[in-house]
Symmetry: D2
Subunit: 151 residues, 4 copies
C-alpha cells in the first residue's frame, strides 16, 4: 500500500515528492530494526517516483546517465517490520550538471531520519565519465523547494 | 575471510567448487536468522567463483548471456550473524544450451540447505531472447560432477 | 504505487492475494533485468500483505515463528526497471503445522515467473526448533484456493 | 577471495582494518555499476571484521547494542562486477558512548569512495533507547587511528 503526493510550482515544475511505504520483512536485520543501508534505497524510491511524476525516467538512456556523488543519512529513531512511514524528498539545489535532494523520513509525527544525496549528469568520456549539463527538458521539470522551515 | 577449493577432472574441466563464507549483518532479518532469499545469492557467489576458477566470467559479454530459468532451495537449519559456512556447488547436468547446478550449504558438520539452479545460454532475438548453444570454449571448461552419494 | 485485492471464501477466510508492484532501481542487476533473488522477496511481500489482510502479522511473536522450509521459482520472462507487475499468491495446501503457497508473477498479459514456498509453524526446543500445530486463530483465517485452472 | 590486515597500536588496541573484497553480481544495478547503497554495507563488513579481530562481536548481546546515528559516502569512481577492491576502515574518534569511523575504498591505485559512520552504545529505556557508556572491555580494544595524511 502506498500513497503519494507531488508538489509543483510555477509551470508545473516539481520540487517535492512524498511516498508512503511499509517496512518489508527482508529490510530488517537481527537487531530487530530496518538496516541503515535501506534508508538510502527509500530515498531513491521517492526520487525516482518524483521523476516519473515529472514525466521522466532516471533510467540510463541515450548519452547521459545520473550517478550519485554523495549520500548521507542521520538516524533519529528506528523503523520496524510493518511500520508505515513517509519519505519526503525535496529538491535542495540545482546546478548546471548536478542536483541535490534533501529527504525526511517520518513515522506518524515521529522523525525517523534525514538524508541528502547529489546526482550528477554525466556522459561517457575517454573510458571514464565527465560531467555535462542536464538536458533542458529534464532539468526544466524541476525547481528548488522552499525550505521546510519557511512558511 | 574465505577459503575456496575447485575440483577438476579430465583435461582440467571443473565440476565442483567450494566457497567458505561468513554471514554478514545485513543478511540477517528480524527473526534473528539469515533471510531465505540470501541462499540464492550464496549459490550464485560459488557459481561465479567456479567460472572464474575456469578462467571465465559469467558477466554479459558479446552476444550471449546466461539468465537463470529456475532456482530452488530447501532449508534444514538456520544461519546466524557471523556463522561460518561452506557453499559447495556442483555441475549436475550439461545440455546443449543449459546447465544445472546442485548446491549444498553446511555449517561444520550440520547441513543447512540444499538448492539447485539452471542457467540458459541466450541471445537477443526479436525483442526477446532465444536459447542458443553454449560457446564451445565456455562449456568445454565444465563437466558433470560425480554424485555426492557415489564413492 | 500499488493496488491490492484479497479473495476470501466461506467465513471470510483468505485464499489468495494480489499485489501490484513496480520494479525499483536497486532490484536490477548489470544484465539490465531484475536479479532472480528478488522474486522470492516479491512473493514474501504478497504473502505478508495477505496475512495483514487477514488481520494477522507474520512477525515473530509469542512462542511460535514461521520459517520457510522450501522456496522455488521458474522464470519465463525478465522484468526491467520501472516495469509494473502483479504478484498473485494463493494458498496451495494447509497442513497441521505447515502451509504452502503458489505464486504467479505477470506483467500485463505476459507471464513472468511462477513460484512456491512452504512455511512451518515452529517453537524453540532444545536449542533448536520443532514443528508445532498452527495456532487455531491463525490457520483458521486461511483456506486452500481453488486451482487457477478450475472454472 | 579476501585478504585482511588489522593495524594495532599500544597494548594491542585496534585502530584500522583492511578488507579485500570482490564485487558480486547481485551488488550491481542496471547502470552496470555497484549500486551506491552497497558501499555502506562494505564499510560495515570491514567494521565488523575489525571487531572480530579485536576479539569482539558487534552482535546485539546483553543489555547494550550499537545502532548507527549517521552514515555518509562520497563517490569518486564506479565499481563493476568482479572488480577487486580494498575497504580500509579507521577509528576516527572515540567518545564516551559513540565511536566514529572513516573509510576509504580503492581499486588498485584508484580511489573509489570515502565514507564515515558513527555508532552509539545504547540500552533499552522507557520503550526507546538511551545512550550509555561503552563497556570498558569493548572500548578498551580500540584507539583512534593516526590520520592517513600523517607520516
Amino acid at each position: 500500500m502506498s500513497a503519494t503526493k507531488a508538489s509543483s510550482g510555477a509551470e508545473g515544475r516539481l520540487s517535492q515528492y512524498s511516498l508512503r511505504r511499509r517496512v518489508n520483512f527482508y529490510e530488517t536485520d537481527c537487531a530487530g530494526i530496518v538496516h541503515f543501508s535501506w534508508f538510502f534505497r527509500y530515498l531513491e524510491e521517492a526520487e525516482h517516483a518524483m521523476w516519473r511524476a515529472a514525466g521522466l525516467s532516471i533510467a540510463p538512456a541515450g548519452e547521459v546517465s545520473y550517478p550519485r556523488v554523495s549520500a548521507t543519512f542521520d538516524y533519529q529513531a528506528p523503523l520496524r517490520f510493518e511500520d508505515e512511514f513517509d519519505v519526503v524528498v525535496r529538491v535542495a539545489a540545482i546546478g548546471r550538471s548536478s542536483m541535490r535532494y534533501a529527504c525526511t523520513i517520518t513515522r506518524g509525527t515521529a522523525q525517523v531520519a534525514t538524508g541528502t544525496t547529489t546526482i550528477v549528469c554525466v556522459k561517457a568520456h575517454d573510458g571514464g565519465m565527465k560531467a555535462v549539463p542536464f538536458p533542458p527538458d529534464v532539468i526544466g521539470r524541476f525547481e528548488v523547494a522552499a525550505s521546510p522551515a519557511e512558511p
